[in-house]
């Protein structure tokens, strides 16, 4: 408890910067953590009215930045996902991926970089801001990025990080593109060859992919399409945008009614159902979306719609901890819909309950268990928290 009290005192220093509601939410989150996370087992049904609104405060931002800051140049432990073709392929992660060798695996490293850029943009006074800028400059230098491009061009690596890692790379590129800062411009320029390669990969892969991947894991097609769409929209890449809109319609428009009770599966980080809604929300007009959604998941528009956060039994186990990521990604999908259309406003408290279930373990201590989930989960939290509309 003592630590919790100290943390809350530190928070009070920032009172002048905050509105009452975010102080309250921080206080509650930290209090919950200080008490003992295992106590927090309240059923979501009971929480529906009183759900605290989570927020990305400077304090949370500083905490969430610590892990990617640490892991972006931490080479081990690492899982390279590599297939060895000869003894010559046995190399260190840094030799194979000089930019994205940290954070346990390539895609986590990519979205770790995204997290830091995002937080720097939102909070220029972030703790360690200068050091973060320095590390970004080192990892994202032109020579390193070119080695990554060469790797992706390898004829045996066509499927490498498809489509999850590709999607986060475009999210990073998009974030740099909209960063009004000399460093942002420089890094965007350095990253551009890799960004171009990923765009080419998408443009080649999507026409070949007859049926979308509907799993709740990394290859989920709808998730990849959503982030790629955002990139295309922000940077004015019409050919990519057109391709995504066309394929999304072909993949999903005729889907029969979905049984959401079948979700989640044990190691899901994404909800196949909500990801599909997330891309269709982007590509369909309002009328088309409402028509389609009324057939695909009609219960979603009922005020009584319920969805309980996924439960995590053991946060020291990386795969079981995937469900925390699922909670964050479900939250951003639900918020995306509520933000776009007022008749889905009732989804907001459900999204908050998902964030509130999974956030305390990340921001309460030292950022969670690094080997298990800490190396990646922060990005999901940041993305979810940023889906809550600003004040």
């Amino acid at each position: 408890m003592q630590r919790s009290v100290q943390l809350n005192f530190i928070n009070l220093i920032f009172i002048s910067m905050k509105k009452a509601i975010s102080i309250l939410s921080l206080f509650l989150i930290l209090l919950e953590f200080g008490c003992n996370t295992s106590v927090k087992k309240a059923e979501p049904a009971e929480e529906k009215v009183t759900q605290t609104i989570p927020s990305l405060s400077l304090d949370n931002a500083s905490r969430l930045s610590k892990l990617p800051f640490k892991c972006m140049d931490t080479e081990y432990p690492n899982t390279t996902q590599q297939t060895l073709y000869s003894e010559a392929d046995i190399k260190t992660p840094k030799e194979v991926h000089p930019t994205f060798y940290g954070c346990f695996d390539w895609h986590s490293s990519v979205h770790g970089h995204w997290s830091l850029v995002k937080l720097l943009k939102q909070f220029p006074d972030l703790a360690n801001a200068a050091a973060i800028r320095q590390k970004l400059t080192v990892n994202l230098n032109e020579a390193n990025v070119n080695v990554e491009v060469k790797y992706l061009q390898g004829k045996r690596n066509k499927a490498f990080e498809r489509t999850y890692g590709w999607a986060w790379l475009l999210k990073l590129a998009e974030e740099l593109h909209t960063w009004n800062d000399p460093l942002g411009k420089k890094l965007e320029h350095n990253l551009q060859p890799l960004t171009n390669q990923i765009i080419r990969n998408f443009m080649q892969y999507l026409p070949e992919l007859d049926k979308p991947v509907r799993s709740g894991l990394h290859p989920n097609t709808a998730f990849g399409l959503s982030f790629a769409w955002d990139y295309a929209l922000t940077t004015g890449n019409d050919s990519l945008k057109t391709m995504i809109a066309k394929r999304a319609r072909e993949y999903y428009l005729k889907d029969p009614r979905y049984n959401i009770a079948m979700e989640p599966e044990g190691a899901d980080i994404l909800s196949p159902c909500l990801e599909e809604i997330d891309i269709m929300r982007r590509v369909l007009s309002e009328n088309e979306l409402k028509d389609w959604l009324g057939k695909f998941l009609p219960e979603l528009k009922e005020k009584s719609f319920k969805l309980a956060p996924g439960k995590v039994s053991d946060r020291t186990d990386g795969h079981l901890g995937h469900i925390d990521g699922l909670n964050f990604s479900r939250a951003w999908c639900l918020l995306g819909l509520a933000n776009a259309y007022p008749e889905y406003e009732h989804l907001r408290p459900i999204a908050y309950s998902h964030i509130n279930y999974s956030l305390p373990s990340l921001v309460g201590g030292d950022g969670g268990n690094y080997d298990a989930s800490g190396h990646w989960l922060g990005s999901f939290a940041i993305y979810a928290l940023n889906s809550i509309p600003g004040k």
Binding site: P77, L84, P219, P256, N259, G266, I323
Partner: protein, 366 residues
């Protein structure tokens, strides 16, 4: 020519009269016979399998590297199971070699297979595998697909009445014991089932039964009930783009058939997949995406899309196997055999022309 012969023999099976059911069933569930394997053909396939388990590269390590010292070649890190693309494949490859020896002990290359098994599955090599599994970052290694493969191999050895079989079973035992204890530690923590969970449970349950492991049996039984007992109204094919949807539901029925008393299973199944009880029930054979068929593989290793050919055929055979098992258990589901045969007949021509697929099928369908 052979293709036609096999199809004809399948059609003959179909026309068998009902009163010959018992004999008929024995044939249908024996895939060596369905594939019409002569000793010569089996020897040829075994030779291919032997070459594949010895082929070190390419190899998907699936490793979490703790430091530079952890880097190593497949044969160094996995002296028993370093070949055939991955650890799990390699285990499956040895499973098939054991099956060949059990079925056709006099096959021409039996001696070289025995020598290879003796060398690769030595006590020292298995101990090195155990050490790998005990490594700091190896806890989720091969969980649970590879674990299941290992239990299949252990079961195959346990039921092999042969001195080599006994010796290899003893060599493998430390790894088998480790996998069983990993399972017992892991399963209580699993909140949600995944694709493949039910199929894995069936394998682990069968192993527990023959090995007399009551704790594993009770654990599988308990978790199966937690996950599946309340499931209702499963649609085998409501989502045409989910290749595995049809087989996932049937695999769930397959584990529940094992753990529930017959009457309870009957009631549960009627609620879980009501459409199965319709006399006209059919489940379309899973088909491969058209343009995947034409594509040249990106790599030599099994990867998303690349082994689709074998995957859809395995799905079809697995579906058939689950449907036939229900018909065997509950006579009112006799009509499911027709649906099962349609799936087998669809995939059979693919299987008989491709050695790699034949091997995969012989490994995974038993």
């Amino acid at each position: 020519m052979k293709k036609i012969f096999v199809i004809i023999s399948m059609l003959l099976l179909l026309s068998c009269s009902r009163d010959e059911k018992k004999k008929d069933m024995a044939i249908k569930t024996d895939h060596f016979e369905i594939l019409n394997l002569s000793a010569k053909e089996a020897g040829r396939l075994a030779a291919i399998q032997l070459r594949l388990v010895e082929k070190e590269y390419p190899y998907r390590m699936g490793q979490t590297i703790g430091s530079k010292a952890d880097l190593g070649s497949p044969s160094k890190l996995h002296p028993a199971f370093y070949g055939y693309g991955s650890w799990n494949n390699s285990v499956q490859g040895y499973l098939l070699l054991v099956k060949f020896l059990k079925k056709l002990p006099g096959m021409s290359n039996a001696d070289s297979i025995r020598m290879n098994l003796t060398r690769r599955l030595s006590a020292a090599n298995i101990n090195a595998e155990v050490l790998y599994f005990q490594g700091r970052y190896s806890k989720p290694f091969q969980r649970t697909a590879g674990w299941n493969g290992l239990l299949l191999l252990a079961k195959e050895l346990h039921t092999w009445n042969d001195t080599l079989g006994k010796k290899l079973e003893a060599n493998l035992q430390p790894l088998t014991t480790l996998i069983v204890s990993n399972y017992l530690e892991f399963l209580p923590k699993v909140e949600y089932s995944s694709k493949g969970t039910a199929a894995g449970f069936a394998i682990a349950f069968d192993y527990a039964v023959i090995a007399g492991s009551d704790s594993l049996k009770a654990m599988i039984s308990g978790r199966s009930k937690d996950f599946y007992l309340k499931d209702v109204n499963y649609k085998l094919s409501s989502n045409p783009s989910d290749l595995e949807q049809s087989v996932t539901g049937l695999q769930e029925a397959d584990i529940m058939r094992r753990i529930l008393p017959k009457e309870e299973f009957r009631v549960w199944l009627s609620k879980f997949i009501p459409e199965l009880s319709e006399k006209t029930f059919r489940v379309a054979p899973t088909k491969m995406m058209e343009n995947k068929k034409k594509k040249v593989p990106d790599t030599d290793v099994e990867e998303e899309g690349q082994m689709d050919m074998s995957r859809v055929d395995r799905i079809n055979f697995n579906k058939a196997q689950c449907l036939i098992a229900i018909a065997d258990e509950l006579p009112e589901y006799e009509h499911l055999r027709t649906a099962a045969y349609e799936n087998i007949i669809y995939s059979l021509p693919n299987v008989v022309v491709k050695d790699e697929i034949k091997l995969k099928l012989l490994q995974t369908i038993f």
